[in-house]
Symmetry: C2
Subunit: 189 residues, 2 copies
C-alpha cells in the first residue's frame, strides 16, 4: 500500500538489530487518516473471507484493528496483557515473547467476547517472527473460533513470520513489506 510505504520511507527509523521505529504514526503518535486508509485497504483485501470478529493485541494493534472493524462493520476484541478486575475469573490466556519488551507477555481474552463459531480475522501492527500472532491464533483456537485471515500493517519478511504461519492455511496480508534492514537501510520487498 503506497501511502504506508511512503510514510515509512519518510518517518520510519531503522534503529539497528531489526528494530523499525514507527512511533511517529503508529506506535506512540498515531495518524488517524493513515490508519483509516489502512483499515479500508484491509477491508478490501478481506472482503470475501466472511469474518465475524476482529482480534488484535493491545496496544499497538488497536488502531489498525479498530479502523478495519469500522470499514467491515465488525466488533473488535483486543487481547489484554493484564487481567483487569472487570474480567471474569476464568479466561483464555497464553504467553508470547515481546520483541520490544524483551520478555514474555500474557495475552488474555474473555470467553464473553470470543466464542464457538466465530470467524476471526487477526489484525496487528507488525508481522515479524509471528510469535504474537501465533499467540492470538492459540486464543482463537482455545475459544473454538475459526481463524479466517491475518492482516498486518508492516511485515519484516526477513524474520520469517509468514513461513511460521503458513500451516494455518489462511490469507496473510501485509500492507508494507520490508525484506532487509541491513546497513541502516529500509529495503522494501
Amino acid at each position: 500500500m503506497q501511502a504506508l510505504i511512503e510514510r515509512i520511507m519518510r518517518d520510519g527509523k531503522n534503529l539497528g538489530n531489526g528494530i523499525l521505529k514507527v512511533d511517529n504514526f503508529i506506535n506512540h503518535q498515531v495518524d488517524p487518516e493513515l490508519m483509516y486508509a489502512c483499515g479500508a485497504e484491509f477491508a478490501r483485501r478481506f472482503a470475501r473471507i466472511g469474518a465475524t470478529r476482529i482480534l488484535t493485541a493491545e496496544i499497538s494493534g488497536i488502531a489498525p484493528a479498530l479502523m478495519t472493524g469500522m470499514h467491515m462493520n465488525l466488533p473488535v476484541v483486543y487481547a489484554r496483557k493484564s487481567k483487569p478486575v472487570t474480567m471474569p475469573d476464568t479466561v483464555y490466556l497464553t504467553v508470547a515473547p515481546s520483541h520490544t519488551k524483551g520478555r514474555m507477555v500474557e495475552l488474555i481474552v474473555s470467553p464473553e467476547y470470543l466464542g464457538n463459531g466465530e470467524r476471526v480475522l487477526i489484525i496487528d501492527d507488525f508481522l515479524a517472527s509471528g510469535a504474537t500472532i501465533q499467540g492470538l491464533v492459540r486464543l482463537a483456537q482455545a475459544a473454538g473460533s475459526e481463524l479466517v485471515g491475518i492482516g498486518t500493517l508492516i511485515e519484516k519478511s526477513f524474520e520469517g513470520g509468514r513461513a511460521v504461519l503458513a500451516h494455518l492455511n489462511v490469507p496473510i496480508e501485509s500492507l508494507a513489506c520490508i525484506d532487509s534492514m541491513e546497513n541502516g537501510e529500509i529495503h522494501f520487498c
Copy 2:
C-alpha cells in the same frame, strides 16, 4: 449522547464498589461504529478550541481518541505505560493511580511528539477521580504544551473528578454522565 447512554443501559454492568464494566463495547471488545459516533460528537463539541494534538493514555483511551482525531484531522499521542526500546532516553514521565489495576502506573510521553506551543485536547474513556487525566495534564505541562480541553466518554460524577480539574479552566465534556451506582443501579445525571 443518547447512543452511548443507551448502550451503557443495555450492556454496561455495575460490578459494585463504583466499578462500571463496559468491556462489551469499550474496554475489551470495542464497537467501532459507536466509537466513530463518539469521535464525531467530541469533534462537534470541541470544534472551536483550536486543538493541534490529541493526548490520551493507553490502553482504553486509544479508540475514542483515534476516532476524535480522525474527525478533527489531528494527530493522536497515547502516553505509554512502559518505555519501549524505540523511545529516546529522556522522556516526560509521571505516575498516576490506576483504578482497575489497584496500583500506581507510569505515563510516559516522548518529547518528539509533544512539544512547546501545542494546543492539547485530552480524550479518555473515563472521568472518575480525575487522577489519570491529571497525569496527562502534567505531561502536557512538562512538555510546554497548552491544555485546551478534556473529553471523556463516561463521567462518574460521584467520584468528583470534574471538581478536581475545574482549576484548569478548560471545557470538560463527557458523553454520558453517571451520578450514582448505589444498590446495583446505574443512574444517569
